[in-house]
Amino acid sequence: MKKYIGLSFLLTLLVMGCANRASAPGVSEDKILIGNVQDLSGPMKELGAVLPAGSNLYFKYINEQGGVHDRQIEMMVEDHQYNPQKAVAAAKKLIEKDQVFCLYQVIGTSPCEAIRPILAESGIPLVAPATQSGSMSDMSREAAELIFHTDTGYDKQTGILVDYILSQDSNAKIGLIYQDDDYGENVLKGAAAAEARTGISIQREAYQRGATDFAGQVANLMKGGATQVIIAGVVKEPIIVMKTAAAMGYAPQFFGTSPTMDHRVALAAGPAGEGFIASNFAYLWNSDVPTAVLYRELCEKYEVPEAYMGMYHFYGFATAQVLVEGLKRAGPYPTRNRLVNALETFNKWDEGAFPPITYSQNDHAGTESVVLVQVKEGKQTVITDWID
């Protein structure tokens, strides 16, 4: 009998030990479950396929090395079709049913804004939301203490572009084409701040998401005499705008916010896109920074299809590094609180993909600078260092 008592005591200890290893929802003896809400079948489904694939590439690499504190990272992806209501339902499912440890990379400004109340309610952190809206790091908003942004916001990007233009040409007349939604709103915020700061006035032209014709806007910029034009669009818009301008014999210097940095802009715009300058919150995937070198090695090793390789896949990869670093710092018994505290210890953390990242209790923006990339002879070339 005594033998059995001893044995059961040992067993209890063992079970308790296991329970300790399972320090929070989503964390088990050998696994950490991460939740991701993407657009898999809506207007941004292309990114929805590529971003998590880039993250999984890095997770695979980490898992093969034994994972983080001997736990394998596993990511569950749900679809929100770029619909905020569906994003709420998907986040709830991940948190309540699947019991994920944290949310990661949720794509789109409106979906991220929509899940703030759920974050606040469940105290679950959201690491690296995949949107460059500056509202993500506005610490006065709900659940801001749980959101860690990795991308320089559109508002800051717009300000940096205006400053850059004025530094090159003090007589510049700047025009701006923006998407008439929350993305554009954040861009306009940056433009208004830049106007107040520099005393210039910027000509604004709006378009609706999904527009295929920009003749009106381009003609207006031409009439207004804009010598530099910032395009706050995604991929199609800069291509069509520049082609339309070329067709009209109008040749201002074109600039773009980070979503226009896509390499297909240069490919599809052809000669009209030559000289186009885009700002980006991450370094080029085909550059020599350490993360990019590792990225290309792993792409080759795991035979990533060529169509996937590029800025967005690399972006997914780079944000995964931020998450993994946070998980490492959270220690062998991670809780959601410990992850938040761990991320707040980032001080000029630099792997090369992003500008040096610093978080603190009062600042979750992470970065404030961008790099400018210009299309030269059809190829993207970095023309500045990190600037802010």
Binding site: E46, A49, A206, T212, D213, G216, Q217, K243, A268, P271
Partner: protein
């Protein structure tokens, strides 16, 4: 004042090209509606499928021979049209015929489902990445005075005119065209008069798939990138069809072009001089639509239907 005039002219031409795309989709709506009073909500998706088929044909021919030549585009075009014929025939078999005697509403619901299925299936086959379409016209443009127009836009406008003339002739001068009109008027009487009503329905689905494919091939290079969301443009062509008068071929074209021009001018010159227009840009076509329907409830070219008791 001169720049105002050239601006308006430029926007009108560009808007006409955009409007011709709306018009071609609206023409597809009209063809099916004319024969069976069914609104095919998958018309935009038929266009998207056509654009994808053409893309894959052209790129696979190009992979064979390397350089994009006129022959490659021509064979891609013919191949896509052949596909459209089969596809239209197939859709008639799986959607229209089984639901022939059901309420029109059931067929409309079936076309809505079809649109969702087509988007999903194309995504499955083509992958999630958008594609860069190639155009036989490249980026060539012509400049006349201060006005510029791309060869692509000219080809869109010319194709729209050709198709309209063709269908107008077909509906008013040929036996089959008149048979379709008779079927639309009264299917039972038409059948009693010896018209093969089933074959008529099959024919309109095939025609409408062909029109959709042609508009897809023309639109893809204009959009610069090809993805499945192209089908949503079909929803924009719907008010165009209503504006012109549902069921009228001339109306579909006029409605489409009007919408394209209004959209472009309101985004351009109007927004430039009256900044408040910017706020209502996305609803301006709907405002015009309601205004016109108030005066002419059957649309611009619609025929008033009087049913005697």
């Amino acid at each position: 004042m001169d720049s105002l005039f050239t601006g308006l002219l430029q926007e009108s031409i560009s808007g006409t090209a955009l409007g011709c795309i709306y018009a071609l989709i609206a023409l597809g709506f009209t063809l099916i509606y004319k024969a069976s009073e069914v609104v095919n909500f998958a018309q935009g998706e038929l266009m998207m499928v056509g654009a994808y088929v053409n893309f894959f044909l052209v790129t696979s021919f190009m992979a064979e021979s390397g350089e994009p030549t006129g022959w490659i585009f021509l064979s891609g075009f013919i191949g896509s049209i052949l596909f459209a014929v089969l596809f239209g025939w197939f859709l008639d078999r799986i959607i229209n015929r089984p639901l022939k005697d059901e309420p029109v509403f059931s067929v409309i619901m079936a076309t809505i489902s079809l649109s969702i299925i087509l988007r999903a299936v194309v995504s499955m086959f083509a992958g999630p990445m958008s594609l860069i379409p190639v155009s036989p016209f490249g980026n060539q443009i012509v400049a006349v005075g201060g006005i510029v127009i791309s060869i692509l836009d000219i080809s869109i406008i010319v194709s729209a005119i050709l198709l309209v003339v063709l269908f107008y002739y077909f509906f008013h001068k040929t036996k089959w065209g008149i048979a379709i009109q008779a079927t639309s008027e009264d299917p039972v009487a038409a059948q009693l008069m010896g018209i093969a009503v089933k074959r008529v329905y099959g024919l309109v689905w095939i025609f409408s798939a062909i029109v959709a494919t042609i508009s897809g091939i023309l639109l893809a290079p204009r959009m610069s990138l090809l993805d499945t969301s192209m089908g949503f443009l079909g929803l924009k062509a719907f008010p165009a069809a209503v504006l012109g008068g549902f069921g009228s071929i001339t109306g579909a074209i006029a409605g489409g072009i009007m919408m394209g021009v209004i959209e472009t001018i309101s985004m351009g010159t109007l927004s430039f001089y009256f900044s408040w227009i910017k706020e209502i840009n996305d609803i301006i076509v709907w405002i015009v639509l309601i205004a016109i329907l108030m005066v002419k409830p059957d649309g611009l070219f619609g025929v008033e239907k009087v049913r005697k008791v």
